[in-house]
């Protein structure tokens, strides 16, 4: 985890919204996501399935499905990516902003060799010829620690193992040394040991290239290991946002605290796992008011009717805190923490 620097952010997202037109009316998958990302930093977006985290990233890259519509601002070098013409967007995609996807088997084209899929990026964006591109690709494959890169590069994706495919994806995305990398659950489909390797690789590459990373995951353990700031999403809205220290040590939202408590621990006397009761909402049937209200122990009538606004948390902030923490809740911080003390007493 790098120390933050007071430089201008490399990416600014302001009030990003995503909606889908369906047969039964519009569905709001993302409602008001905002963050700044500085060079060399990692932002983690955490949430359960259906919370809108993947759609956030896809919207930023302009890869939403046909029925999807994104609004708000995604500012990179002064341009709003959401309103760019397709040609201009293509110049940025892959070269300045890259994306890595969840399932490397289906994310790579099974009908083209790995070499082709890698060299085409360099040929298109950097104008390299076939040989030069191949050299760069081989160097990148070495950097992601693929053994015998020269022998393997002319193979097809299905001839690689899962972990190696993800490394290939990573290498492919970093070929042009983009400033920003969006990683949508890059380790979810992999074994735990391989997960750790990929994450270590990410950190290393970030250190070498200074890439800013947006890491989407549902796994808090991954977040703790790699991220500088964290954004917790639920039902398409941001519930809490702040530095990783804040989230893990001083989380002030019932949902975040619920997530943290649900992590099984080896120490302590807990006899049963503490899950958050209920299930995530269906995006087409979002309740009015706070999306978490149906499952929140602290919810009252106001919570079911009024959507809480995301506001900064004053006080309880260390002096060298890099990010101003925000949360969206009707209860005060004191009420949330107090409730948990009560719970601990009973539990």
């Amino acid at each position: 985890m790098t120390t933050p620097s007071p430089k201008a952010p490399v990416l600014q997202v302001k009030d990003l919204q995503v909606q889908f037109a369906t047969n039964d009316g519009p569905v709001y998958a993302v409602n008001g996501v905002s963050f700044d990302l500085a060079r060399g930093q990692t932002l983690g977006i955490v949430g359960e399935s259906g919370s809108g985290k993947s759609q956030t990233a896809l919207a930023m890259m302009g890869l939403l499905a046909r029925q999807g519509q994104a609004s708000g601002q995604v500012l990179y070098q002064g341009q709003n990516l959401l309103t760019l013409a397709p040609d201009a967007l293509n110049t940025l995609r892959g070269a300045h902003i890259a994306m890595v996807f969840q399932d490397p088997m289906t994310a790579l084209n099974p009908y083209l060799t790995v070499e082709r899929q890698m060299t085409e990026v360099l040929q298109w964006h950097k104008g390299l010829d076939r040989r030069a591109a191949r050299q760069r690709a081989l160097a990148m494959l070495d950097a992601v620690k693929i053994p015998d890169a020269a022998g393997r590069i002319s193979r097809y994706p299905h001839e690689f193992s899962g972990g190696m495919r993800q490394r290939v994806m990573l290498a492919m995305s970093l070929l042009c040394e983009p400033e920003i990398l969006l990683a949508d659950e890059p380790t979810t489909a992999l074994d735990v040991t391989v997960q750790a390797q990929i994450l270590a690789l990410l950190r290393e590459l970030q250190r070498d290239l200074g890439t800013a990373i947006v890491l989407i995951t549902h796994d808090l353990g991954v977040v703790a290991g790699v991220c500088d700031q964290v954004l917790v999403m639920y039902g398409g809205r941001v519930m809490e946002q702040g530095s990783v220290e804040h989230i893990f040590a001083r989380a002030a939202h019932p949902y975040t605290r619920g997530l943290l408590q649900a992590i099984p621990r080896m120490d302590g006397e807990a006899s049963s796992l503490r899950a958050i009761p209920g299930t995530p909402p269906l995006m087409a049937q979002l309740p009015s008011g706070c999306p978490f209200a149906p499952r929140c122990a602290l919810a009252d009538a106001q919570c079911s009717q009024e959507v809480p606004v995301l506001h900064a948390i004053a006080a309880s902030q260390a002096a060298d805190e890099p990010f101003v923490a925000h949360r969206a809740c009707h209860r005060t911080v004191a009420q949330v923490l107090h409730h948990e003390v009560l719970e601990a007493g009973h539990g």
Binding site: T22, D24, A29, L282, M283
Partner: protein, 297 residues
């Protein structure tokens, strides 16, 4: 996952649990093309069944005074007459009876054969399955029309033989699909349980496997029907289908094609009847597939 609307969004739009048949009925009814087709097809069937009873001519009656006339209201020659003075409307309706009857019979035969073949192959598995499916593959590779021509040449054009010939080449799709479905049913727990208790194989096939095949059988039956009607029409058009004095749409179209330049109505009416019937049958088949197959795109 593909970049479609996220699953969470789609699942929300689905209604709460209902019986799958009721669900299918509702979905079918939503498909306007299918519903309209069903209505039109019913009208055609009714017309073919009852029409000839209501009209003053039989399909063989020749009217020497009105040979080869265009459609007219006088004398109820709504479709005109052919060069022998036979009323085309009646002939079209009677031809429809034959076309539809052959269609129905051939469908019955080929569906029975296909279901039986596929169910046995899928359930037996192993070598038996491989052999049976090999035979299906071989049959697929053969241009059926030629064998049909061969069979007609040798066996003659008796009505039931024509039905047989048509059925002989329409059952393979059904067999394949049924076999696939059977394979997946076979590995389900309730079948293993039945086997464990010692229920005889044939009993398992007919009381467990077959009822679960109903959905897919209905779908493919509704797909088979237009194919069979078309096959009969092609054979008749080539002069190799039902024999005189029976007539069918294919025969009428053949006759009409010969006099197209002078009496275009001779081909338009039976041609339209056949085409509309086929279109309707296709739409109904599509509707069935949408309604009964939950994985439809």
């Amino acid at each position: 996952m593909p970049t479609l609307i996220p699953k969470s969004v789609i699942e929300a739009a689905e209604p709460a649990q209902r019986s799958p048949w009721l669900d299918a009925r509702i979905r079918f009814m939503r498909n306007r093309a299918a519903v309209v087709s069903l209505l039109i097809l019913s009208c055609i069937v009714l017309a073919c069944l009852l029409g000839p009873l209501l009209l003053p001519y039989s399909y063989e009656d020749t009217d020497w005074n009105q040979m080869g006339i265009a459609p007219t209201l006088t004398g109820w020659h709504l479709f005109g007459t052919d060069e022998l003075g036979r009323d085309l409307l009646v002939r079209t309706l009677v031809g429809g009876r034959i076309s539809l009857t052959v269609g129905l019979l051939a469908t019955l035969v080929s569906v029975s054969l296909g279901v039986a073949w596929g169910a046995v192959a899928g359930f037996m598995g192993g070598r038996v399955d491989a052999l049976m499916m090999r035979i299906v593959d071989i049959l697929y590779a053969i241009p059926y029309l030629l064998i049909a021509i061969m069979m007609v040449t040798i066996l003659g054009r008796d009505f039931y033989l024509v039905v047989l010939t048509i059925s002989a080449f329409s059952w393979m799709d059904m067999a394949r699909v049924v076999r696939g479905q059977t394979l997946s049913i076979r590995s389900k727990e309730y079948v293993e349980a039945a086997r464990a208790i010692g229920v005889p194989t044939w009993r398992i096939i007919f009381s467990h496997v077959v009822p679960n095949l109903l959905g897919i059988v209905v779908i493919y039956t509704s797909i088979t029907v237009p194919g069979v009607i078309l096959t009969e029409s092609v054979l008749s058009f080539l002069g190799l289908g039902v024999q005189e004095p029976m007539t069918s749409w294919g025969v009428l179209i053949h006759d009409g094609a010969n006099v197209m330049a002078s009496s275009p109505w001779m081909i338009w009416f039976p041609g339209a009847a056949l085409t509309i019937t086929l279109y309707c049958a296709n739409f109904i088949g599509d509707g069935m597939r949408d309604a009964l197959d939950p994985k439809e795109r």
